[in-house]
Amino acid sequence: MRRIGTWIAVGGLLLATAACGGGGGSNGGSNGGQAAKSASLAVGFVAEPANLDFTSTEGAAIPQALLVNVYEGLVKLDQDGKIQPLLAEKWDVSADRKTYTFTLRKGVTFTNGAPFTADDVIFSLDRVKKDWQLKIKAQLDVVDKVEKEDESTVIVTLKHPSNGFLYSMATRLGAMFSRTGVADLANKPVGTGPYQLGSWKRGDSILLNANPKYWGAKPKLSAVTLKYFKDATAMNNALLTSGIDVISAVQAPESLQQFADPNRFQTVEGTTNGEVVLSLNNGRPPFNDKKVRQAVRYAIDHKALLDTAWAGRGQLIGSMVPPTDPWYEDRTGDYPFNAAKAKELLGGKTYNVKMRIPNLPYAVASAQVVKSQLAQVGITADIEPLEFPARWLDVVFKQGDYDMSIINHVEPRDMGIFADKSYYFRYDNPEYGKLLAAADAGTEQEQIDDLKKAAKLLSDDAAADWLFLFPNLIVAKKGVTGLPKNGIAEAFDFTALAKQ
């Protein structure tokens, strides 16, 4: 769970370069250079990745583009958040829940031609420990050793039972790399997935071509273009003018009525794992004082915020758990909007705080509402939009030089980020870490109970404020199928995408 996420929802626009119409099913033929499918789509996103190496670079944009599509893990998440087999045909868990035996799929090759074997699994998992530079890699610290029984059987031994292990294996942490394919991850990803990198026009788009040698059902598209837009209106216009086929995450929800015509467009609305967090720097004044943090939570009228900043799309949460997780509880009642109470907690004092936000639409919109509402209780927030991702990641996330920020933490099951006191929240409560550890080691029911307690603790401590849950809001041209209703995995899965 510690992820950084921070990116923003992605908008997908797909530009159909429409080679031709046929498109049909997966007629398995892998005839050399070109996949047999004809259609291609362009999906629009925001926040282009800085490079393509998610083992060394934080941020959600890279796994969003590459996971499941280019890289595959042993397992993957389905639309309901359940774990499904992918490169592992099946797995067995020992009675003490400490040993996982994965049976690997045979006949799988990487796009560089190397076969996928048990050695690659060992290599990939070792690499997480040795070479990965992300904070979230700590999730796999629970792995004690990885051994191969034969070419297609791998045994993973854990230090202690862990509910989170298999889930982590479905995220980017579990992505399988080729032993001979990691020389230039930043530019040349090598995976086993249904797509491979075609080209990357920096600042504009990434082209993924269908992998002709893919082991599974062939994707229905011959190519997908991921087109990156800085600007919500530009993305909208691209869809209106058929420059693209899909907006993967709407960045200007007020503009949805432009796409109201059912003969041309369809809208998909669901939930995500993206908690839009009003981060408070617990490590320095004034927010090292619990009372001031609580005052902030009381001072914010979340319903009004959602209605104005994001057109009422999304859901109010109140803690770090999205409704799609089994341990979700409605925590919005913990700090009901109450300006008088907030003032009382502040004891008549006034504060000046630095609100350093990414220059992303939801953050800039929310920040203005937060500022206005905090001003009512005597907290003056100075809004400073920083260029995202580079500047924001550096100043706020790495250096922790901020009082308040707003960012969408998109990673699934990311409660663990609050257990890491070096994380930019600087939240430090050993009790919380203990609850998370107990949850991970306990039975399924214990996990649910402990994580509910943890979410309550987080909310009671006012470790941050949770503004709203980011909606999965997709607009696409009519005829595009296979769009995910809920955006609850790290990847934007192109494998089911098709165009009629």
Binding site: N236, P253, D307, V364, P385
Partner: protein
Amino acid sequence: MRGRVNAGLIAGAVLVGIVVLAALVSFVWTPHDPTLVDAANKLREPGGGYLLGADKFGRDTFSQLMVGARTTLYVGIVAVGIAALIGTPLGMIAGMTPRGWLSELIMRVNDLVFAFPALLLAVMLGAVYGAGTLTAMIAIGVATVPAFARVARAATMQVMVTDYILAARAAGRRRAAIAVRHVLPNIGSMLIVQASVSFAIAILAEAALSFLGFGTRPPIPSWGRMLQESQELLFSTPRLALWPGLAIALAVLGFNLLGDGLRDYLDPKLRRIRAER
């Protein structure tokens, strides 16, 4: 006796006057708090105390326009001030020593800066030092320096060949004294004209930068950012884009008319022509 007041000058002065007045009044009074978010007034139609309606945050558009005028003038004054304070002395030095190496150096560096787009400079400064009104003003100001330097140089060269300068030199006046006593007063009118034209350019640049997110920080009202925020509502609530757009257009028109009018009014040659008529 100066030239006759013309219609353009009056129109320009009136438009600029309105902007200045709105900015000054906004310090003591606006109909509503321009940054107060009020969900109940979201996208409120004009009327009932909200003269021009409210935006998606429930903020009064009219109040925002008034305070936005402040931002506009502030940026214009500082940017033009920077440009004039740096550009004028440089231009005068170059103009008083037209064949010296210093003059060459100044004017070539000028050309270099002139070749660099102001907006690009502002975006770069914003990326390095953080976007904000100050960085925007400095960038616009620096990019406007060459315009002032050129005007000042050309005007100075004209003045330097006049009889009274010759007399001053013959009387043994030092160069600095000549520059301050004789040159500056005589090129002042051209600088004023240049200032009003640059002011209009600065307004446009600030609006553009705020529109791009590199200018005035939210939620301080700025016409450019109002435009940007109204983008997504362009189809449903076009008035939100109409008013700030109109404000920018009229302010820029006002300063340009003022500049033209002042030129006609202050230019000694035109004055002579008029007198002969």
